[in-house]
Every structure is written in C-alpha cells, then in structure tokens.
Assembly symmetry: C2
Homo-oligomer: 341 residues x 2
DNA sequence: CTGTTAGCGCGTTCAC
DNA sequence: GTGAACGCGCTAACAG
C-alpha cells in the first residue's frame, strides 16, 4: 500500500517527529539526518496525505474579501459566489469575511484596506480600483505579510501576488475579431458603449477591440465611445440616441455593465437591417436577450471560478506554496444562444 | 467551533457508535434513539467531515476506463488526462486502470466490457460506440451493480447512469449560428466534412448545424457532407478536391477529427476571397491553424473536465450519493485566435 | 538536535 | 440495542 510517515521513519531509522520536520521544512534536523529521510522518501515514493495533514493541523484560513456594493448583476453574482464559498467554509477550512464598499469610492476602499491590516487574516481578495491611494494601501497590506489577490479588476503596478480575472485586452480583441467577421465587407458604423474610460478594464477592452477590428479590410467606422457609467438608465438613453442618430449603424459593442438599459433600448427600436450586438457578462438579462435575438454574443468571466481560484491562491500563498499560474488562468467564455449553459 | 460527532453524542445522550449508525443509515438503532440523534444533528448544524471519514475508512475506489486506441490528437489528449488522474490516484483515493481497444471495433469493446464485469471495480467510464451489442454489454455491466458513465460519446438508450460529454447537437447549432452570422447576406456554398455519418455524435452535429443555419435568410447552399473517417490523409484529399471543384465556396464546417488534413489542404490553396472555417477540438494543429488564420473558430470539449467529471460521478454513484447533474455539464468552448488559453 | 505521546474527526471491530 | 476502545496518516506539544 501507499507508504506513510511510519514507513519513512523506520526506513530512515528516525522517529516520526524528525520525518515531520523534514517534510515541513522546519529547523532542528542535522543535514545528514535530513538526507537519510529524503532518501527514504525518494525510495518509497512517499506522497503525503494532505487530508490527514489538514485534519491534524486543524488549521483554518481566515480570508477577507473586499467587494463593491454595486447594483449590477455581475457584482451581485460575484457576491453570491463568495457567499457560497463562505458557506462551504467548514469543509474547506476557510473562514471568509466579506466587506462591501461603495463602488468607485477610492477613500472607502483605502479605509477598508487599512482595516484589514489590523485583523489577523490569512489572505485578502479585493476588487481593485485603478488609483494611486489604493495602490499604496495595498502595498501596506502586503508589507504586513498578508497575501493579496486582486479580483476581477487588476492593479498590476501594485504589490499584489496574483490577479484572478480575465485578460481584458484579449476579451476586447475577441469581440473585435468576431465583429470583424460578422461585418466583413460591409460599410457602416459601429457603436461603442463603455462604463467609464477611467476604469482600466474598460480601456483595455476598447483597445483590444480596435486593434482586432483593424486587421479586417472593411469600411467600418467606430463611433466615439459613450460612457454609460454601468447604469442601466444612462445606457438606455445613450443607446436610444445612438440608434436614432446613426441609420448606418451595423453593430454595437457594449463593454461595460448596465446592459439592462442596452437591451431595453434594443427591444424598443424596430430596424429592418440586423444589428450585431456583443456584450459582456452572462446574467439573467443578457441571457434572455441572447435567446430573444437582441444580443448576438456575450463574453463572460465566470465569477465562481474567479472566487474559487482566488481562495486557492490565497491558501497556497499562506502556506508558502507556489501556484501554477497557468492553471489559475480565468478563461474568456463566449456564449451564443446556442451554447448557453 | 464546528460541531463533531462527539458533540452530537453528548447532546443526544448516546455514544459515538450510535451516532455513526444513524449517520450511515445502518441498522441497530431504535426509532426513538434515532430521532434524538437526528434532532441533535439538526440543532447543532452538524456537517460530517468527509476528509476525516475517508481517512478512517481508508477506502479506495478502483475505477476502470475503456478508451479507443485512436491516433488522433483528441483521443491522445483524453488518454493523457486519464493518465494524469491515474497519477493522482493516491491523493484522490482512486485506483484507475485503463483498457484501450481498437477504434470503432464493436467486438473488441464488447469483450472489454465483459471483462470488466469479472473485476471488482467500483465504476466504469467508457467511450461508447453506437451499436446494439455494445448497448447489451453495457446493460450486463450495469446489472452487475457497477456504476457506468459514458465518456465523450454517449449511448442514451443504454442503462448508463451518466454521460460526461458535450451536447453535440448544441455544438452543431453553435457552429451553424456562427457561420450564419459570418456569411449573412452572401450567396455561395458551404462544405461539410464529417468523420462518419454512422457515428451518432457526427450526425447530431450535422443536424444542429443545418437547423441553426436555416434560421438565417441567406442564399447559402450546403454541399452534401464528405466522410473523412477522421483520417488526415483522406480529409486532405477530400478538402483539396472540394476547394478545386467549388469556386463559390464560402465556408467549411469540419465536425470530425483528422483536421491535420484539413489544415494542410487549406494552406496549400491560395484563394482571393476569405473562407470561413469552423472545426472541432483544440489541438496543437488546430491551435496553430487558428493563429495562422487558416481556421476561424474551434469548438472544443475539455477532455480534462470530462475525465475529472466522470471520476466524480462514479465515486458519488459508488457511494450511493446523488450528483448535481447541472454541475457536471460539460461546456462547449469556443476559441478564436484571440481567446486561446 | 531527536524521540514520545496525545490527539484531529470519524469508522469499525468487539464486547456488554 | 448500545458503548468503549483502537486506528487511519499526520502534526504538535512536550520531554529528553
């Protein structure tokens, strides 16, 4: 059967405690003794039973999540996923506490981050805002020795250990690449709806979209982006106006949130020629719009994956174990009405 | 802290053994005693520690996989994923044995299935062939009380407990829906390359593709499908001929394997007008073709997910636990060159 | 520096 | 019917 610490101990002629010290890289073992143990491990092909180790340790990981109290469906889904993992805490040996802060509120976020430093948390996951004070506050948390993962929205210049989210530039390119294939050979205009160009994610998506579209030799013109602030009402007004003012409109790329407004605007108009629409995040609203044919494509990041990945990374980091970054990459999902989950 | 069996025992005023009997639904407990225990469990919100339970049980799940010894990249990837899980056996408390049988060989598969019945396996995962003798052999395995999961290729009329694979009709619809958007308003023809129309998966993809494409009001004509038998050489010859004979060809949907041949044929021709190509399974070849612009879209099923899902389902089935089917659904991945993992 | 020992939460003989 | 006691593989005090 599978070799155990006992087998290693007797093979190496030492006691369990010594084996344990070597296994966990703790001090108090002379080099030659350590060598003997390592050789025994090698020889017997020992693999430690993580479940048993955790059981013995009885360790729990107190983790902190800081997320915006945003009203949109995606953030709600994210919070729901965190709550789900919170409920699984006893099973996963985690104790997750969640702090919500007003969206886009730098000061509130900084205050929350500074509060985290006082708690004895084993790791922090935070939806970052792209601002210098946030970067500094994050640095202070890291300086405290607390592992930090940015969630959904990154802050690459900061000291965060990992980012659990999608490559937004690639997402934009994907949208542009699809739109280019949809409208190849046509002549007309494409509308762009963003949340805010001050948000890094949105800027990156926009860049990627433009770059990918340029590779097609088309007579397509991009309208200058309108900012919907991720608010359905505002998006509704902007899109309605766009549809009225631009008879040659062939497509719309909505790269922010607030798609309820987009969908309402689309359903209110009655055009003869089809309009190709690409949006982000699969929610009840965008799903219904896909099924109704109002939206062609939804690009999605799986909030559940992001949350679970963040937890895995934080636990590994807390234990000083390396993570396989490639394995934690969050994929860009593409949904049509035909491959909905 | 988390309540344990000890807490339940003292709360209910019984011993650990009695609690255990109730927990595992074993006989030897009077109804009133059982009630007291259940009430205590309810009251304290007890959730049993699966890891500790497994540790105590020392249980291992001997699982059997039967897969075709096919030469194509997808099956190779599938076998690699199984091997990877095999290596993780000690950690996951599984002991996986793999049997390979010649592809499309009904007799060999039936023989392998009948051999499984003699082993004391805790579960079987098999890439099915759509044939009556296979269905009967599967029924015999199920009759033996062995949980069975079909992998990649299903056999719905059989007694299998679960299917770990994609909805091929939906995959076909997805391809058709994309092709329709790519070529909307054009006039021309679309080529179809299948492996074999005797394979259920391929028939389903074809059906889905046709159905989705019909929803577009286009002047597109579907050529009758050519059968490449999943062999690169054959596919190469067929596609080369198609490209020569059909000057009005606008797109190709390759719904089987052997895409090496497709890619070679595409790279050898030099057309002026772009050709929209959709294929299945992300391999080193199709990935390179995406990046080179020879293929527009690759639909993919994640072999790793399929294998891991099959294992989870088999273990659950062996323990008589229900699985959340929705959670085990294998998604249809869509890849462009822009969102490659 | 190294060894002994007592658990972690649960399952499973055995006696009673 | 019910309970006490031991062990799964590993960690963590404590001794030595």
């Amino acid at each position: 059967m599978k070799p155990t610490v006992h087998d290693i101990a007797s093979e190496a002629g030492v006691s369990l405690a010594t084996v344990d010290r070597v296994l966990n890289g703790r001090p108090g073992v002379r080099a030659p003794t350590r060598e003997r143990v390592l050789k025994a491990i090698e020889k017997l092909g020992f693999v430690r039973d993580v479940a048993a180790a955790n059981l013995a340790k009885g360790r729990v990981y107190p983790l902190t999540f800081i997320v915006p109290s945003n009203d949109n469906s995606f953030m709600a889904a994210l919070r729901a996923e965190i709550a789900a993992q919170q409920a699984r805490g006893p099973l996963e040996r985690t104790a997750i506490s969640v702090t919500t802060v007003p969206a886009f509120d730098v000061e509130a976020l900084v205050a929350a981050l500074d509060r985290v430093r006082l708690e004895k948390t084993a790791g922090l996951a935070v939806v970052a805002i792209d601002a210098a004070p946030v970067r500094d506050a994050l640095a202070r948390v890291v300086a405290e020795g607390i592992p930090v993962v940015t969630l959904v929205s990154d802050l690459p210049e900061s000291e965060r250990h990992h980012f659990a989210g999608i490559d937004n530039e690639a997402a934009g390119r994907t949208a542009g690449s699809l739109m280019g294939r949809f409208l190849d050979g046509r002549r007309g205009r494409i509308g762009l709806v963003v949340g805010s160009l001050e948000v890094r994610d949105h800027r990156q998506r926009l860049e990627g979209f433009r770059a990918a579209l340029q590779e097609f030799e088309t007579d397509l013109t991009l309208l200058s982006p309108v900012e919907g602030r991720d608010e359905p009402e505002r998006v509704h007004a902007l899109v309605t106006q766009m549809l009225r003012d631009e008879p040659a409109l062939l497509g719309i790329y909505s790269l922010g949130a607030g798609n309820r407004g987009l969908i309402r605007a689309l359903s209110e108009q009655a055009r003869k020629q089809p309009l190709r629409v690409i949006a982000h995040e699969l929610t009840t609203h965008t799903r219904a719009a896909l099924e109704a044919g109002l939206i062609d494509i939804v690009l999605n990041q799986d909030a559940g994956h992001e949350v679970r990945s963040a937890i895995r990374v934080l636990k590994a980091q807390a234990d000083g174990q390396a993570v396989i970054a490639a394995q934690e990459r969050i994929r860009i999902d593409i949904f049509l009405k035909d491959n909905l989950p």
